[in-house]
Symmetry: C2
Subunit: 166 residues, 2 copies
DNA sequence: TTTTCAATCGAATGTAGTTCGGTTATATTT
DNA sequence: AAATATAACCGAACTACATTCGATTGAAAA
């Protein structure tokens, strides 16, 4: 039985192998990673192809999962979140780590990773102010199995973006 | 003299005060932060307004800088970058810190902040593999004025997104 | 009260996304 | 080598969405 298109698409998306990308693909990806509102006409000028040709490539890049989607970038300060902090949390048990994963639901939490090294969990938090950060910290510190929490409060941000195709 | 529209727009964008947002604005922002490709027709169903009304609001949110832009989210693994690492670099001089800021140009670097606390600079790096991460680390460690570099290699990522309007 | 302003709507318009058929070039098969 | 299949591309047509417009409403200011 020949696999249906749907099946092969599913396999393609799951694959963690790097997709084969030529220089034109990379230019398109770079342009869209910078500004996803660019029109196909605009992209076609950048890569010297017709608009439908660019459209085909973007469609393929989405189908293969290289482009995972497009999102609006919001200004944290304008939303009332002025305090960016990275928390490095050392846990003594897996159950404690699991409890920390639940914090992914919080609106203030932007990233949550488990890491190798001294700590176990790394959380990027954008809080409204020091008070709300303190509340957040207290909540984490009071969890059973949390050994230590180190806070790194961002002073200035010089770069914040997603993966680059270059 | 009455300030021109251009001037007031410029002031509005620079302002770090939180913009006044009602619940409809927040719903729109949330929907677009999740998927910026949603049409005004789709958004209008979510917030129970007409498409032009939503259009006006989005235009205002962009003008005020609450929406900073829209970007395509790329899959780091598909691009051949499988290794996500956070570096916490302790420097002994401002000139060393300045040298580190130049690393914002690197394709592997996704975030670069100065932080208060033990370290001075926090860098989020997405490298192709351990070898290229090692090259990167070596380069930083060999900089004059770099006291220490702590590496936190991500094992699993449970959340990665921008500021939320909620 | 009267006026002004901002937010909204339906309808019309314009622009950009998308599909289509045909062409070329390359790779595969016979 | 010839024939066939495949993939990438193009211009032109089509479609759908973004955008503009004028009118209406309701609330705040004069």
């Amino acid at each position: 039985m020949v696999p249906s298109d749907k099946e092969t698409d599913a396999i393609r998306q799951i694959k963690h192998h790097p997709a084969e990308l030529d220089s034109i693909d990379r230019k398109i990806l770079g342009a869209l990673a910078e500004d996803a509102s660019r029109s196909y006409a605009e992209l076609s000028k950048i890569v010297h192809l017709s608009a439908p040709a660019v459209h085909d490539r973007v469609k393929r890049l989405k189908r293969d999962g290289v482009i995972k989607g497009t999102v609006a970038i919001l200004d944290g300060c304008k939303l009332g979140r002025t305090l960016l902090t990275f928390l490095l949390i050392d846990t003594s048990s897996y159950s404690a780590t699991r409890k920390l994963l639940a914090f992914a639901d919080r609106a203030e939490v932007e990233e949550l990773h488990t890491v190798a090294g001294d700590g176990c969990v790394l959380i990027k938090v954008r809080a409204a102010n020091t008070e709300s950060l303190e509340d957040f910290l207290m909540e984490i510190q009071s969890l059973e199995g949390v050994r230590s929490v180190r806070s790194y409060i961002a002073l200035s941000t010089f770069l914040e973006r997603g993966p680059s195709p270059d």
